[in-house]
């Protein structure tokens, strides 16, 4: 017995002093070591997936970013009985703004990570590489675009404040690296737009190359050459690069119809088809985000806030403002007013729900988030043409292409401001509730008019505050004026 005891004691003593580290090894299973990941092709491919998944979060395109851009502007208001969501945004209270800074920079970091490590990982075919890099450039551009249009002034209406957002293109993983974490200052608005266009051009090239070979076409729910070109037309329109916007739009239109296994993407001329496809693989969708049943945002989904579905339920907190309803051509004569706006009664209030996220699938929160679609590209081109002398008739053609699809009579030829205003009106109706309105007003110098209240284009509240968590840490970041 004594010997046994001594043996145990000896073993214990040895254990505590010698082989401790071995005994203290643990192995996380829900994560893996980063050093392994930076050498893995599959891990890098999973990284791009995480960016799509993140953009679909309810704080970003899953709900908030789209809804906020509509209620901060003049399309939507909050029903009297409500769930207390988006109320302060609808009242344009200071700091009640979009909040995508953190999500966007994490997404940008992941894209940078892909671009940085792809060359040191073995096993990629050239096409796979081009595809992955093309997606990374596209998504990086998209995130920078959302950042710069939310947190900075439009390049055409800067009101003496020309700072954009910091441009970061590296991904540092070592905390001992002197460049870590980096305290970047804000680049100029124009530099950010230039970076976005550069990324989209790269995306177009790389995705085009990959698509030309037999890589499976995965549009519309992942980046495609068509999506890159179409987004470029919007970015250039925001920038006031009219010729560039027109060229990109033309290029995008020439790429349609675009056949992917899921969808034939094209401008839909048939009104009935156009009205019926919302929420589930709309043929207009050049780029969008999808939800499998197990990914549903449930009660945080966009349908839930926009529409009180008779079966799926909903807060139904957003109703169309009178100004928007008045803009429809001939009121309910406009089929979009009839089919995509639903009049309902909520706690004795007459409300107008948006039906673009109609609860098209048998489960809650399954509706696709359509982000770039064919009609927008035509309207981009119409506007870009209208801004260029001598291209009015082309602009009218594009405008009427969208307008007459709804079986309304064509709009008679217009020029100058009348033409621009008509295009803006068409754009407001056509893209209502899709998250364009705030930026369309900001980039065209217009004010927001909500009943008796007017918020001027230059009002500081219309530019989102950079989160104080960020300005507190990074002293090189100049806050937006009045914040």
């Amino acid at each position: 017995m004594k010997r046994l005891f001594l043996y145990i004691l000896a073993v214990s003593a040895t254990a505590t002093t010698v082989s401790c580290n071995k005994l203290l090894e643990t192995n996380p299973k829900e994560s893996i070591d980063l050093n392994i990941a930076t050498k893995s092709k599959d891990a890098l491919k999973a990284t791009i997936i995480s960016v799509y998944a993140s953009m679909r979060g309810s704080g970003y395109y899953g709900r908030d970013f789209i809804v906020q851009c509509e209620v901060l502007a003049d399309n939507g208001e909050i029903t009297s009985s409500n769930s207390n969501r988006f109320v302060s945004e609808a009242n344009n209270q200071p700091r009640a703004q979009v909040n995508i800074w953190n999500a966007c920079y994490v997404n940008i970091f992941r894209c940078n990570y892909i671009m940085k490590y792809i060359d040191q990982i073995k096993g990629f075919t050239e096409d796979e590489k081009q595809q992955l890099l093309g997606e990374a450039h596209f998504l990086r551009a998209y995130n920078y675009f959302d950042l710069v249009r939310s947190y900075a002034r439009n390049p055409r209406f800067m009101y003496d404040f020309d700072l954009g957002v910091p441009i970061v293109t590296d991904a540092i993983l070592d905390v001992t690296d002197p460049a870590f974490p980096g305290y970047p200052a804000r680049a100029k608005v124009d530099e950010v737009y230039a970076q976005i266009v550069k990324d989209l051009d790269s995306a177009e090239l790389k995705l085009g190359r990959a698509e030309a070979s037999s890589i499976t076409q995965i549009a519309p729910f992942r980046a495609s050459k068509l999506a890159a070109v179409a987004l470029n037309s919007r970015v250039k329109l925001y920038r006031g690069d009219w010729a560039g916007a027109e060229a990109s739009a033309t290029s995008a239109i020439s790429l349609m119809p675009f056949n992917s296994p899921k969808l034939k993407v094209e401008f839909v001329s048939d009104s009935a088809t156009y009205m019926s496809k919302w929420g589930n693989l709309h043929p207009e969708m050049i780029f969008g985000l999808s939800f499998e049943a197990y990914e549903s945002l449930g009660t945080d989904a966009i349908q839930y806030i926009y529409y009180k579905h008779p079966i799926l339920g909903g807060y139904g907190d957003i109703t169309a403002r009178a100004e928007l309803l008045a803009d429809y051509y001939g009121g309910t004569a406009d089929p979009r007013r009839r089919s995509l706006i639903k009049q309902d009664v909520k706690s004795s209030q007459i409300v107008y729900y948006c039906l673009k996220w109609p609860g098209a699938k048998p489960y809650r929160g399954g509706d696709d988030i359509m982000l770039i679609r064919a009609s927008e590209v035509y309207l981009n081109r119409a506007e870009a043409r209208a801004m260029q002398p001598g291209k009015e008739s082309g602009a009218m053609d594009d405008l009427n292409k969208v307008h007459t699809r709804t079986k309304l009579a064509p709009i008679a030829a217009l020029t100058g401001d009348d033409l621009t205003k008509e295009i803006w009106r068409e754009r407001r109706i056509e893209l209502a509730f899709e998250g364009h309105r705030l930026f369309d007003l900001l980039r065209t110098g217009r004010n927001i008019v909500k009943g008796a209240t007017t918020i001027e284009n230059k009002d500081y509240r219309l530019v989102a505050p950079i989160p104080t968590t960020e300005t507190d840490v990074n002293k090189n970041l100049k806050p937006n004026p009045f914040y």
């Binding site: 401790c20 090894e25 994560s31 999973a46 009985s81 994490v106 990570y113 993983l173 048998p362 489960y363």
Partner: protein, 994 residues
Amino acid sequence: MKRVLLLGVCLLLTLSGVFAQNRVITGKVTDGTDNSPLPGVTVGVKGTNLGTITKPDGSFSLSIPANAQVLTFTFVGYEKKEMPIPSGNQLLVKLLSDQKSLDEFVVTGYSVKRKRDVSGAVTSVQGKDIENRPVQSFDRAMQGQMAGVQVIANNGIPGGALSVRVRGLGSINAGSDPLYIIDGVQVNSGDNTRNFPSSNALAALNPDDIETIDVLKDPASASIYGAQAANGVVIITTKKGKAGKTNVTLGVYTGYSERIKKVDVLTTQQLIQLAYESRLNRYGKADADSWVPTLFGTTKYDSLPNYDWQNILFRKGIIQNYELGINGGNEKTTFYLSGSLNRSEGQVIASDFTRGTMKLNLNHKVNKKLEISSGILLAAYKQNGVNGAGTFTNPNRGGILLWPGTGPYNEDGTYNQNLFGAYYINPLQQANYDSYNARNLKMIGNLGVIYSITNSLTYRGTINAEYGDVKEHRFTDPRTPDGAPSGRVSDYNSELLNWQTNHTLNFNHVFNDVHKVSALIGTEYRYNVSRGFNTGGTGVPSYEFSTVGSTAVPTNPGSFYGDWKLLSGFGQLSYTYDDRYTVTGTVRRDGSSRFGKNNRYGTFPSVSLMWRASKEAFLANSNVISDLKFRVSYGQTGNSLIGNYPSRQLFGLGGTYEGLPGAAPSALAVPDLSWESNQSYNFGFDLALLKNRINLTADYFIADRKNLLLTKPLPITSGFGSIQQNVGSLRNQGIEFELKTVNFDAGDFRWETKFNVSSVKNKVTKLLPGQDNIGTAIVIGRPINSIFTQKWAGINPADGRPMWYDTLGNITYQPVARDRAYLPGTLDPTWYGGFINEFTYKAFSLRVFLQFSGGNYLLNQDALFSSRAGSTVDRNQYASQWRRWQKPGDITDVFKPYYGGTIPGTSSAYSLSDRYYEKGDYARIKDITLAYTLPKKVLRQWGLAYARIYATAANFHTWSNYSGYDPELINGTTGDFGIYPQSKQYTVGINVNF
């Protein structure tokens, strides 16, 4: 403790040799209460090594020298008895069972010490002080019983988790829970569910199986547990068997629980009147005259019904508890076996707790040197619950917020699915149709080998295991608005395996009668792994199907895994001179898998000094002072309650998309990450007066919590939000008193009092370099959980607008962020304690337990939500809103009803200010018990050894100014938002021994 005594028995046996003997004395030892024979009693001759042990019939026979004067009788659990040797050879001895002797020992970690020898700050509560109370877990029963041990219920859910804080809140980002040790097994605590509102991991142990709870408060006592001990150590010892007659105990109690308080809310008619006024004040009479009738569809408001939703959603819940215990044994083997069944329905509909437990403690002496001790606890418990927090289906919130004009049922008896207002979901239907539950299985086992190498040196080795299995199930019925269209199911399964082994060598010896040396060295290894998965689905064929397998569309699959390891070596050396001076030094070295490779090991030393003044010549003969000792200690302990892999660089999961998994870099390596430490001084004394009739213990401590893990924020442009660093500090300072007195003890009447009170102050002393605050709650120089808010100035009598103060103390109608100020207190109580009076008269006893706490503020979130003067017509509101301002000159605290709540030129009347932070002070009769012990005569007729009947009222009465449901709740920035309140319980019960 008993083991030590048994060891002593072995020792005596070993030493008893054969000497010159002159005569043989025989006798019989029996229990003083019931005259049953006591086998295994050690009978010794004082001043010699001679002795024997009584036989199964209690008889003994012992040869004694002629000059022997006195015989000693010692037995576990009985008072030691000394007896002059009578002239005759026959002796009849009665031993009295001795609870007091049990009190005098405390388990101090890997060893048992006499309480009088303890030089650190240790407090204890006896099992009998917490038994038969209608609580589901012992941590709840500890509340108010011990100085320096603060127990705050997170909620009133039957079987819900609690927060126990020993000597204040000790961390900012790491955990604050103490280490719990049940019969030597370090167990997991806290809420062990991931989806269910709250399930207490410690509810597996039936509180009535507990013999003692000892809490090691200061680092000098706790440093033997090193890196796990910074928040104190709670050591639970369960009941053990006693050699002798087999004892069967039966306990039953039953009763009911009900709400403590009902919150006063408005009637339908009052709400309509307020709604009318709010429209009138905003849009004018014409609007109000048309809008209100349109909204309610009638003008005959008086005919509208009033439903009392609190009555609908609260109830009387039945409580039942059954326990059966058997214990006994002989000089070689003792056992304690108990089983229990508890069912406690909550006072909120559809919430309950059901538990079955089995506890077996088995000790066996193989031979004089080797002893095996083992214990096993098996428990299964299930909780049914309802949605909590801010959900629409939360009945606690619904009781206040639901519109009183619509009720739970339609005229045809079906559930009303479209209640008026924003809270349109019917919680009664939801609670009755949905199922939401957590099932726990728990096994805690300990196996120990004790080997006496020599008389002074003992080896002890143990293998301990804790296994837990939790299955959570949630079904949302498709017939309800929340479950529409086709129902939802989610299941969470998780498993815990925690095993430890430790090996110690204990040395105890007294040299030359005055130099007492005890030493301990040991090593320990712990491996803790938890894992689980969750899955769910939507779309069941019909509501009768509620399993995951019956759903059409799968949703939310997930899993988790976490493991950690701890490897330790420790030692303790204690020297006592002449029972007067004691010095003890302890050191433990721990290595934890959780920490960075540069800082994986930590050393935790402590030293303590004790001076027993009462043994000095100048006090030794005092008739007043029975015992007086002074204690000083300093020590260091660590806190390792952080995530499992915070120092690792990781690539983690990042959602799914289009059928593909996402993943991305998720954490950067922090190789320097290390322990949080608790460096603390303790000064205390223990004073006993008048033959221990008055016992006072007082302690003062300063605990510096250093190397606190703080989240160093990074610019998110780096791709990461933060990394953790060990840089923060805070200081806790406090005073603790425990007083036990026998106020009256004469004849048939006895009155005993136990009183304890603690005060603790907390101050943040250091944050990140250059950082003065983290948010507004954590500021250098202030306590954690400070409250920074707008200052309410009341209602302007002239126009009914709400007013606030600005920074200069002037009235403002539109306060801005800089107008906020700190309240004098925080969300954490700064004083707390308990006051127990026990009166015994003949066979009757009355126990009154008052528990109190205060110095804090509570955010009354329900009030914030429900104080709108009718300006939103979507919910019911506090009855106080009827006091709204109506005309110039009205002096009131409720603003003018104004539709939407934002009077032009005025901030929203609903905005948060200090008016919603209410004082959290309360005193409550936690427990009042009246008991009657049946007379022996009656018992004998029934063949019983003991019987007691009693009636208990728990949370019987509360003194508090808090306007919400209940002031006993955990602080939090969300206040009492939808928290399940505490309940009252009334029970009657009986204990019988056969």
